[in-house]
Amino acid sequence: MFDTFPLWPARASTTAGSVDALYIFLVALAAFMSVSIFIMIVVFATRFRRRKGVQAEQIEGSTPLELTWTVIPLGIFMVIFVWGAVIYFRERTPPRGATEVYVVAKQWMWKLQHEEGQREINELHVPVGRDVKMIMTSQDVIHSFYVPAFRMKQDVLPGRYTTAWFRATRPGTYHLFCAEYCGTMHSGMIGQVVVMEPAQYEAWLGGGAAMGSLAANGESIFQQLGCSTCHRFDTQGRGPNLAGLFGKPVQLEDGRTVVADENYIRESILSPAAKIVSGFKPIMPVFQGLVSEEQLSALVAYIKSLNQPPAGAAATPSLLPGTKPQQPKVQ
């Protein structure tokens, strides 16, 4: 449309096109319905206005007509529902193998950490055409990661991870907003998503302070906090072996089986008593309050990196002597 008065934000992600298609269909439907009712009212009001000696004709109603304008709207609504649900399904299931960005929302700023180790505040640099999965949590209140150009919004809750994904299709700089009211500077908690050509992205990546990848950072924290004393890789330590754990079902002590996703790892670090792996005793100390959100993200990234076979992983955990991690199971 003419860009002096844009009617929708730039389409910069794969889902933006399909969301706009449904939007245009619905605008057309709404316009058609509003205009037709408007015209009917105007026509009836003029043709049947009060005139001397003309009595109104009492009409009781007609059930077939009522049924038609019950069933037809219902039918149209179901079509819209399915269409909307399909888009939502795609939006809510991140593709496997997407590059991950850990986001920590704090009252009135966004802190982002790339897998490669880059840390950013209120800025997110992503390459064009690559799936990016955001693993987000908040340190205080509920925020909401919203990029209008990607038609993507996901609330960021304290105490758990929420995920969202997108694949940018057009280079450029797009708005990043916080869409859930979070206090004084809610309107200041904004930033930019910079979509770059892959080459530019690699240059930007290289330029950043090379602090080693997030997983490597996670591994050092893993040592520092003494996790390795119980979670051994070679022998059967007092804690479960974490190699190849991510994404796999875990048999719990009280009979339930849960999938080891990010939330499971986070909960098992912060309050281990919640889910005890069968065959192990509940001796792990509580890390709630001892581990910052950034360290937690690093630990989760490190545990995930234990899935990759040692050769291919971006950071080969040096502590991985004998045991050969199995192929990561399809999540």
Binding site: T15, A30, A56, I59, G61, V141, Q154, G183
Partner: protein
Amino acid sequence: MATAAITADRTNYLNQEYGIKSWLLTTDHKRIALLYLLSITFFFFIGGFFALLIRLELLTPAGDLVQSDTYNKLFTMHGQVMVFFFLIPSIPAVLGNFLVPLMIGARDLAFPRINLLSWYLYIIAGVMMLHCILTGGVDTGWTFYTPFSTAFSNTKVIEAGLAIFVAGFSSILTGLNFVVTIHRMRAPGMTWSRLPLFIWAHYATSIIQLLGTPVLAVTLVLVVLERALHLGIFDPTRGGDPLLFQHLFWFYSHPAVYIMILPSMGVVSEIVPCFCRKRIFGYKFVAMSSIGIAVFGFLVWAHHMFVAGISLYSALIFSILSYMVAVPSAIKVFNWTATMYKGSISFATPMLYAFGFIGLFTMGGLTGLFLAALGIDVHVTDTYFVIAHFHYIMVGGAVMGYLGGMHFWWPKISGRMYPEFWGKLAAMIVFIGFNLTFFPQFVLGYLGMPRRYWQYPPEFQVLNVLSTAGSTILAVGYILPMVYFLWSMRYGKIAEENPWGASGLEWMTSSPPPTFNFDHTPEVTWEAYNYENIPAPEEVAVER
């Protein structure tokens, strides 16, 4: 005037007795309705004042009129005052209180003293809310989302929560009174299929008030307890779950929007047949769609939480249910429009408001379909698209219906006619001002401007300026009726028993009615809206 001018000295509920005590201790449902009318108009103008300040602040991208904290309090107070102190009581407590006994041929509501208690609870809540506003206000948004409201806000959340807790009971008692009155105190012959649709709408509203409000009450109790005693029910750092609060809150707050719109639908279902001189089209369907809205209204609450972190599959369920609840509203709009076919339509002010209602409510309802579509909701929730949607329903629908009802029954309430010319002028101003205020916000919303923003990127400014301009026109449009209603109390033409030639028992007693409503309990032998044997008043359409 054709009928003999009824001398004003005939005793009616207004001049039955005078003095403050006769008003403050009255148990007459008509006087309590007027007490409510005064108090909700007072709160309407407070909420409107906050709205104007918000719109003024949003004239410019930068936050330069008020501090950000003050802005946060402004939109919170605007929301809480408008929702809990104007929209929810407006039609049920004013027009409902006045008309429900009259329309079913009863002499008063079932529990008159509980009705007065309901007003006093409303006043106590109002005083608490005013005290909260004047001594600092609250900045959590009208939704009180935790953990911000319980752990991070240092404003008067407890006081605001208790004020709304008390206001909730006022709403429960009104609902209780209506349900028992409609069940037990109908005049002989007034069967359920002869009830005016205004009564059906209020019956459905009362069911929601009764079953929904207590859940909000207990949620607010938990928030207040958590804030006062540092419990951990909604605090994630102590094992609580903020989403549980959202579920409990929206379990009430979505049915609450039907508490706001159903009475207006009842008003329009009375106005349209009267000014078309015709029976309403498909009476049973319109009546049952009110009950349908009340029932389905309770099943759809989590469509406010599609991006809040609920699971994918529950989002699907709530999306499909939200489409189910849209069908009864569509039925009503089609039936009102069909009523006009082959009618004898005259254009008095109430009819203009009814036209406005049908138009704007249709647009509000249709944009609701956008929000129920999951794919689009992810993009537009928590943006100005949602703000425009619910203002189209609440301001375009509920307030238009309320004003239409006030004009339609003003002769019955005050015994005087409002000035027709000024009535039509105000209706036009409100319609134009409303559209100019809220239509640009749809575009703003889809462009991605989030709600509750004190400052916004510059590219959204043009649309915000349009919206602010519209809000000033809307403000003028709302002040006009208050002026000429007061004026008409003194100088308005004396209204006779049935100035519009409308059907309904309330038009068969004097205007204003005597304290006991009817001299002899009416016997109903005719069907609802029997306009074929009610003579149309000659002069209503032509008189200027």
